[in-house]
């Protein structure tokens, strides 16, 4: 579902990136290392996923492996929706 990845990228751009910061982050780049998201940002991202895609993110799923790059986020979302 390539359109979902583009939608996620757009969400990150629209909500967290502006102006001089608007670097073109790669699909595999860490949001945390590039300071695109901080702890509050990740909480907002998780709320967005839950509201938009009707999934529930458990505490133990709040890990960088699931959330800390566009690739990770997309794969996580696909797994959750398939489940």
């Amino acid at each position: 579902m390539p359109e979902t990845k583009a939608t996620l990228r757009q969400y990150i751009r629209d909500n967290f990136i502006l102006g001089s910061q608007a670097m073109n982050f790669a699909d595999g780049d860490s949001f945390m290392e590039l300071h695109i998201l901080d702890s509050t940002g990740f909480l907002e991202l998780v709320s967005h996923l839950e509201e938009t895609y009707g999934i529930t993110v458990k505490d133990e799923e709040m890990v960088p492996e699931n959330l800390d790059s566009l690739d990770a986020l997309h794969a996580f979302l696909m797994r959750k929706r398939a489940a």
Binding site: D14, N15, F16, I17, L18, G19, S20, Q21, M23, M32, E33, L34, H35, L37, D38, S39, T40, G41, F42, K58, D59, E60, M62, V63, P64, L67
Partner: protein
Amino acid sequence: MLLHEAFEATCERLPGKTAIICGRERVSYGELAARVAALAALLHERGVERGDRVALFLESSVEFAVAVHAVLRLGAVFMPVSALTKADKLAYILVDTRCKALLTQAHLRPVWDDALQRSPCVSSCVVAGESGQDGRLLGWPAPGSAGAGPRCRELIDQDLAAIIHTSGTTGLPKGAMLSHLNMCSAWNSVQAYLGLREDDVIGLALPPAFSYGLYHVLMALGLGATLVLERSVAFPIKVVESLVRERVTVFPGVPTLYAALLELSGIEGHDLSALRIVTNAAAALPDVHLQRLRELLPQAQLFSMYGMTECKRISYLPPEQLDLRPTSVGRGMPNQECWLVDEAGQRLPNGSTGELVVRGSHVMRGYWEKPAETAQRLKPGAVPGERILHTGDTFRTDAEGWLYFVARSDDIIKTRGEKVAPREVENAIQALSGVLECAVVGVPDERLGQAVKAFVKVKPGAVLAERDVIRHCLARLESYMAPKSVVFVEHLPRTDSGKIRKTGLQ
């Protein structure tokens, strides 16, 4: 005594012991000493000397610890700058302090690149994660070739060790100047009641750019303990896993961090039995979290503490007092005196409410080139020549002198344990086209302590959404300073003199 001497003694005594664990990196004291020597050699070669200011724009990392000790041994002054800082503030700090060198990392390039262009005073910028040289940009040096490395032999404890910037009500950061004596004194007082040990494993999830985190780096490495740097605070389960994996014995935190950890489902299932000291500062822990922590960690001593950058720490509550007076922050700490004064500066008896003042050799030398702000905080004491720190915080004491926080006298917001000057946020919002005027206040928030809230009046015809304002602030301010909510209003209430009246804005 100089601030870096304990660390250097540890390196000689325990070269093979693990000093720092950061992600997959494990560095011994011997290795750390070699890295410090290499960086000191490079900075020396680049002309960094006694008294020069050197900014550390680094995340919690091995490089941060290396940078602190390399700068200190040259007799220069280190200035930790939060990795969340944006270009405008970084440039202000660099220029204002006539900073000679900047130590930073590749990931933060968009920010320092911009700031450096406005900071001709910076003659060297050493970048972790890069190599080679391009003008004043230099790669981080590899250890090995420097031998013992250079050091300043003339340094004494009256020299400045650090300048730590803190939010000022004017919206411009103020640099608290701390001498070697100030910092060693604070360290000794804290150590006298906390009793950290060489066999401790100290888990640090706090940023080392602020005083609370910074002292844990200094104390851990000075004692020869092992420091575990945990950067994934956004992922609380990772923090818990690291506490378990490394058998962490000492954990400093702030209420927001404890809230995130305690809210994890199944936290009881993790083996946290190694923890023997847990500390809280920056703001009071809510009762329910205090109780939860004690149930979860029955073996650990829990310290509630209070302090400020200007002198590091002022008070702690002995753990055995926690049941008797859970909301108190104690009665001061060893080798300092603190008491309450009225508006005329007169000492108040126990059972009063007033401003807390502090005297001791840990009190800062003043704010860097800010005489007016310095005079407001440091006032003459009874001993000729001595200056007393006026905290600006209102406390009450009970009959036995135990301190209870009442309020701040300024409008600084405390969110996520960090200070936010409303003026600084207002200045940022004001720069957004379409904004006519705005007011920023702190509102109570369960998770954050206080949340930053903005009231914005837009220009006629302008259209702005809440997210536009937040995103604009995220690009210009440290992320914790960006408003959590924005309300658009038709008008802002005014005082008779025409200033915006903030009381009542909620």
